[in-house]
Amino acid sequence: MTLAEATRAASAARCAHCGLPVPGGDPPAPAEEPARGAETPLFCCSGCATVYGILREGGLDEYYRMAERRREPVASSGRAFEEYDHASYRDLYVTKRADGLLACDFYLEGVTCGSCDWLVERVPLLVSGLTRAELDLRRARVHGVWDGASVSLSSIARTLDTLGYRPHPYRGLRLERARRDEDRAALARIGIAGAIAVNTMLAALALYSGWLTGMEPAYERYFRWLSLLLVTPALIWPGRVFFRGAWAAVRTRSLHMDLPIAIALGAGYARGLYNTVRDAGPIYFDGVTLLIFLLLVGRFLQQRAQRAAGDAAELLYSLSPASARVLEGTGTGTRDVPVEALLPGMLVEVRAEETLPADGVVVEGRSALDLALLTGESRLVTVAAGAEVFAGTVNRGSILRMRVDRAGEESRLGRILREAEAGALRRAPIVATADRLSGVFVLVVLALAAATLAIWWRLSPTHAVDHAIALLIVTCPCALALATPLAVSVAIGRAARLGILVRGGAALEALARPGRIYFDKTGTVTEGSVSLLAWEGPEEAKRLVLALERHSSHPLARAFEVVWDAPPVEGEAVAKDVVYTAGGGLEGIVEGRRVVVGSPAFVSARASRPGAEGRGTCPPAGASALGSAPEGTPVHVAIDGAVVGRAVFGDAIRDDARASLAWLRARGYDPHLLSGDDPGIVASVGASLDFAADHCRGGAIPEEKLRVVEEAERRGPVVMVGDGVNDAAAIARAAVGIGVSGGAEACLASADVYLTRPGLGTLVTLVEGSQRTLAVIRRNIVFSVAYNLVGAALAMTGLINPLIAAILMPASSMTVLLASWKSQTFTTDR
């Protein structure tokens, strides 16, 4: 095949469903639009082919005419979702509606764009009995309504899964409902306050122009009463929240920002009312309504940004394994049940790549377990019948059967989770700059108002009250109240687009100040999975080893494939007579040559001539370059009885770890390594990343991690970065807890920040963005305080009137708004 031919083939052979190139597909006649020509459509995988068939059959092939489509191969799990029909599942997640239909909310994996919305909402056409499916695109959540008599939930779930949207039960619907009502109420308040503020300002405009050009007293009186009519409902309905907040502050004897706001609103309204009735003096109604509106908007923005990040984190939380495969009495058939329904004594089957649902004992099978998320251990642990195993570990080998001893809260995982919850309760609150300032601010404003009143009382008692009220209104912390939330919500929004989910502004502020950062090792600083670290041996051996390893699902076999299979080796070899010895290795015949791959002991027992002659030039053990290689699991390769190659497998350090740590150190941060892995491995990884010896700590169990963080917190806020269940308690306790991509749910649930993209480079972006956000907040605060100083000075000297106040207030808010919006807090370019 010439190069031109190859290029054409690559561009033409595209999957009819997802549009990706078809691997090894025959080049058909060039078709610009996939799946439109008369020729047989091609598919990149069986998942895509299935969905294509379903959509054609259901009359939904309009899907393929949509401009924007999901460009991903369909990956369905193929699960039966039997547990969805279980009674305990129904009690937990399904609600019965008034009309007798059933309803349930799911999170869907793989929802990306408008085409997903189209497809998911048409699922009722494919499943009879399902009456409605409504997708919330932003939250990736679908609300399904179905007739329990004609269709089962599991078949609905299976259809969604087949289409590539794996459903997960949505937890916490009750909390969601309360939040939703709260959001709607806040929105209603803003709407009313906004409408009233605009109309009051129109009336005020008439009054101000009346001052300049002269207005008949009758009209002036009319507009005053009109303003009073408008401001009263604004104060009673939307403005009520400030009075409630102020009252709470008074009762707890704390200085809250709501206090001066409530005083300003109350005093402004009372004075305006008095002046309206006696038909003389300024009214402050436009200022009062504008205040209410702007302050409510600030609060709403703040809440909204925090919700969005919280929603995303919750989505990830819901992705945990919610079912287990229980063996029926006879031990042949299996049945899916929700994890919540597991009881001690049950027999459970755990297939490769599945997470163990409970603590227990292995009864049958032999496999390698990945404990990384639970303990931080980077090496796989081999288990066989009789071994004690724990929930939350991942089966990386072959099928296992286990007896449940402790499930749910009783399990070791459950205990660690409780610890994490307790840690979150003990967490010292981070006091944000604005919160700290507000106390001072409240005192200063109240003192200034009192001083103004006292001084003017002596000079001219008729003006004293007006001046004091003008001061209260003009210094009302409108811009100040907006300063932090605006900057933070803009920053959180930008960060989310870069794959950084932040739960609150306080975390950003704390991150911006250099301090101690504890890093977990496995999965955080390192990749968290086994990979080929070093190889020594002839090139041609690779081909033979690969052919052999294709027969194994062992993690090491896959690690070989990942490194050597790209680009695919020319002319694939085929292995015959492959024998797998658990705990040892693989042997077989490839192209007539006997190939043995496995542990040094296993290989040397089968190799008669250890490196003596043959094609391989294997240096004697010990003197090789691998002698100084990173610690890991050694694997030897023998061909025709001669040991020709050695490989070392281990947990590779992430590519960007070194640069990111150097960046942090250069900016005054103090990174430490805190791991549950073997101290020797931790020390070697630490040394290669320039950690001082006393900055590395290995063998730390979850409780010890928590204790270390707690101790360090006494000297100042601590940041904890981790991915596992074993980090959850420490993450919950640290001032700022950061969960990294691929981490356990427990860790996500307790983290303030979640990095959805792998690597520590994102952490650098986060810290840099936090520092920029803090700078924006500071600038905003300086702006608003400056405006307030000018306003206060004018009010105290008696130079102010409601017109100046009405101009100053929105001007200061607008400055802060623009400054926040224009700020480049989180950007990819560095």
């Binding site: 408008g114 709607r184 709407g191 409408a195 009319y222 009109l226």
Partner: protein
């Protein structure tokens, strides 16, 4: 000028209607999800009546 005695109350009534409409919409959850409906409007037909025949098939 005395027309403002009538016009302004009328305008306020209109505002009142608008606010009531907004409250009704907010209570019914019209503002809960601001993204999906924007996309949904671009889809050609309602879920109730799917295109049974693909006209592009040649």
């Amino acid at each position: 000028m005395s027309v403002i005695y009538i016009v302004i109350p009328l305008a306020l009534i209109v505002v009142g209607v608008a606010v009531a409409a907004f409250l009704w919409a907010a209570k019914r959850g019209q503002f809960d999800d601001l993204e999906t409906p924007a996309v949904r409007a671009l889809h050609e037909d309602a879920p109730a009546k799917p295109a049974k025949e693909n006209h592009d098939r040649s």
